[in-house]
């Protein structure tokens, strides 16, 4: 239909045609009020969508590589200990690996959880609190992990 007006015809009330004329707004063009959620969030959601996919591809290598090293190669978990970590973080390569894994996995996971909260927490206040908690925990974890990598000291004792 090319018009946004629908005329109800077939009625016998020709004389009062105007009374039967329904005017429908085009979809999604409701009148904005103060309470209308703003949709001017720029391209944030689009960027987040793309980030989930790009970080996912990189994480396949980083995380599966990490699991292979920690759980499978060279005796699996049994070899892990302070000395093992000291050996690994002596190399800038593994420092950068762990740093990239930390940032990407935390941001990817946090953005994923943001979606989950948006889906299930229906009350505005619950959402606000859960997201506040999520962002706090995320910033804390990223900062702590970064600090640990950069300040690691093999001769701490």
């Amino acid at each position: 239909m090319s018009t946004s007006e629908i005329n109800l015809t077939g009625s016998s009330a020709d004389a009062a045609e105007d009374a039967y004329t329904l005017s429908l707004d085009a979809p999604r063009s409701r009148t904005r009020t103060k309470k209308t959620p703003r949709s001017t969030r720029g391209n944030f959601e689009m960027a987040a969508w793309l980030f989930m996919r790009l970080s996912g591809i990189v994480l396949v290598v980083l995380v599966l590589g990490h699991l292979l090293i920690q759980l499978v190669l060279d005796g699996g978990v049994s070899k892990i200990g302070f000395a093992f970590v000291a050996g690994r973080w002596a190399s800038p390569f593994w420092q950068v690996w762990d740093l990239a894994m930390l940032w990407l996995a935390m941001l990817h996971g946090a953005n994923g959880l943001r979606t989950v909260i948006n889906d299930y927490a229906e009350r505005v206040n619950t959402r606000l609190w859960l997201k506040g908690l999520l962002y706090t925990a995320t910033v804390f974890t990223i900062l702590l992990g970064t600090l640990v990598i950069f300040t690691f000291d093999p001769n701490i004792r």
Partner: protein, 126 residues
């Protein structure tokens, strides 16, 4: 699922649910994992004490579960990416899901001995 939904999907929905559950689980694990790794800044003894618990049979089982979650999330994540970016992705999404499950089973079988072998030795002697 939001309360009251009548949507009863098929494979597509269940893979989505599993993707979501595994993603959330991995996130919680990672949070704890960064905390335990931070013990290297406290003292070698404290770090080694906590890591020692990771070598017990029960925790080994949890590690196998973590591997299961990550492998599924990673493989299915690649499938989601293929559905979104590969022009024939949507048409083959179901075949790709079965491939994901097939590769997952193979990799899980391969991880059985490396991840659980030491636990079996602890439990049953070597």
């Amino acid at each position: 699922m939001p309360a009251g939904t009548l949507y009863r999907g098929r494979e597509g929905m269940w893979s989505w649910v599993a993707h979501r559950v595994t993603g959330v689980l991995i996130f919680f694990f990672l949070f704890v994992h960064v905390l335990d790794t931070a013990l290297v800044r406290v003292s070698p003894e404290d770090y080694d004490k906590v890591v020692a618990t990771y070598k017990t049979p029960i925790v080994a089982l949890l590690e196998y579960g973590l591997v299961a979650a990550i492998l599924f999330h990673a493989l299915n994540g690649l499938r989601v990416i293929a559905v979104d970016f590969w022009s024939k992705g949507p048409r083959y999404q179901k075949q790709m899901l079965w491939s994901v499950l097939g590769v997952w089973i193979i990799l899980m079988a391969g991880a059985l001995y490396p991840v659980l072998g030491h636990a079996a030795r602890v439990l049953f002697g070597s």
